[in-house]
């Protein structure tokens, strides 16, 4: 008697998931809660930004590289909003570059392509040296050592209730939409590191939890750049700078953002009392 060889199975041991319909977000979130029981009951918000190649292509068709170059530092400027799709590989940098080059002359596309190169740069550093994603790449250059910074993010920051109006607005967008303009990220990161003297790792973890485009390399190394552990000096700003780059709809009043007030020199002395006074 000849035994027939057992039929080999090429299918996995469990059945594939039946995903909910794209048009039914309630069903999507219900399914996710079932799949991820670790989610807190209070974590209820979902973003207006939707995942899907079609959504990415719609945004790609709207990019305006020339105006991006002129307005990208302004909150409300003509940014591409492609970063969540880039983060998850829905669109490749090469494809976006090709679209840019088909739309504008080199000089008008340079700023956008240069920003895309930042992502490539962070990714390469991540690959070569993954340890620096969570470890200080260098010492702080703030006049303080790492031990002088708190380990954990206080609840008022995590909930966007610091009492600093513009900071709370930026965090509110992060919590509700999972998005934040790049300049606002710098403002919030500097506020957390330098005004509140909290380790950049706590802030980076907070951002990664919520940002749709949260990427360990781009996010954490940018935090290190603000903190000064991956740059020559700490990044800081004053309220006047926020007012310059913010739309009128953002509350940048002095009474509601008092801790950010002052000239650059005054803010510097306040934040970094151990450093020599700038000349």
């Amino acid at each position: 008697m000849t035994l027939l060889p057992q039929k080999k199975t090429n299918s996995p041991q469990s059945e594939p998931l039946n995903l909910a319909s794209f048009d039914d977000r309630a069903a999507i979130t219900a399914h996710i809660r079932q799949l991820c029981p670790y989610l807190d009951d209070e974590d209820m918000t979902i973003s207006a930004t939707r995942g899907h190649k079609n959504m990415a292509l719609a945004r790609l068709s709207e990019i305006d590289p020339e105006n991006y170059g002129k307005t990208r530092n302004h909150i409300g400027g003509k940014v591409t909003r492609l970063s969540p799709y880039i983060r998850h590989g829905v669109l490749s940098l090469a494809d976006i570059r090709d679209v840019i080059m088909s739309k504008v002359k080199i000089r008008d596309g340079e700023k956008l392509i240069q920003q895309m190169a930042w992502r490539e740069y962070w990714q390469r550093l991540y690959r070569v040296n993954p340890e620096i994603i969570w470890q200080d790449a260098e010492d702080y250059k703030t006049g303080f050592s790492a031990q002088d910074y708190a380990d954990d993010l206080p609840e008022d920051i995590a909930k966007g209730r610091t009492g600093v109006s513009c900071i709370d607005a930026f965090i509110g967008e992060l919590l509700e939409q999972g998005t934040m303009h790049n300049h606002a990220r710098l403002y919030v990161a500097a506020y957390i590191c330098h005004w509140r003297r909290i380790k950049w790792q706590a802030g980076a973890r907070f951002f990664l939890s919520h940002l749709l485009d949260g990427d360990p390399a781009s996010n954490n190394l940018s935090w290190q750049w603000v903190a000064s552990t991956f740059s020559h000096k700490p990044y800081y700003y004053n309220l006047e700078n926020v007012q310059t780059f913010s739309p009128d709809t953002l509350d940048t009043s002095q009474e509601n953002n008092a801790v950010l007030m002052g000239t650059y020199e005054e803010v510097y002395v306040r934040l970094f009392p151990n450093l020599p006074t700038p000349e």
């Binding site: 594939p16 999507i28 899907h52 669109l91 490749s92 090709d98 990714q123 999972g178 749709l212």
Partner: protein
Amino acid sequence: MSQSYIWLHEDSLSLDHPVFSHASEPSCAVFIWDDAYFERQNYSLKRLTFIYECLIGLQERVAVYQGDTETLLRNICVDGKLYVADTPNPIFLEIIGKIAQNNVVEIVKDKPFINAPDDVDMTRFFRFWNRSRKSAFGFE
């Protein structure tokens, strides 16, 4: 011809990734919904929803399984070659390394954006940019 498998992970949610054209046919593409990994990343509902919606768009070609990534990948590609979209994620690279102990694994890079020289100085961005600018515009 033996079956080949493609592992798409959260860094490569696209059917246009070269891993699809690179893999020998017939191939079976999978994404592992690894809730323990997501918990480790502390992903909020917003982030998970975005990923889930991306996966809906891949369903015609990619099967989504729930469970531990390494265990499921081992079960899935018992006797076949595994193709993986390239990633710098050390957690994924560790899994790939373990699978590679028993299976043939090939990592496939995404379409190149920048071709930087091997000796490029990575200590600061603009040193990198100045050496790679031409290729970023597609001239090299």
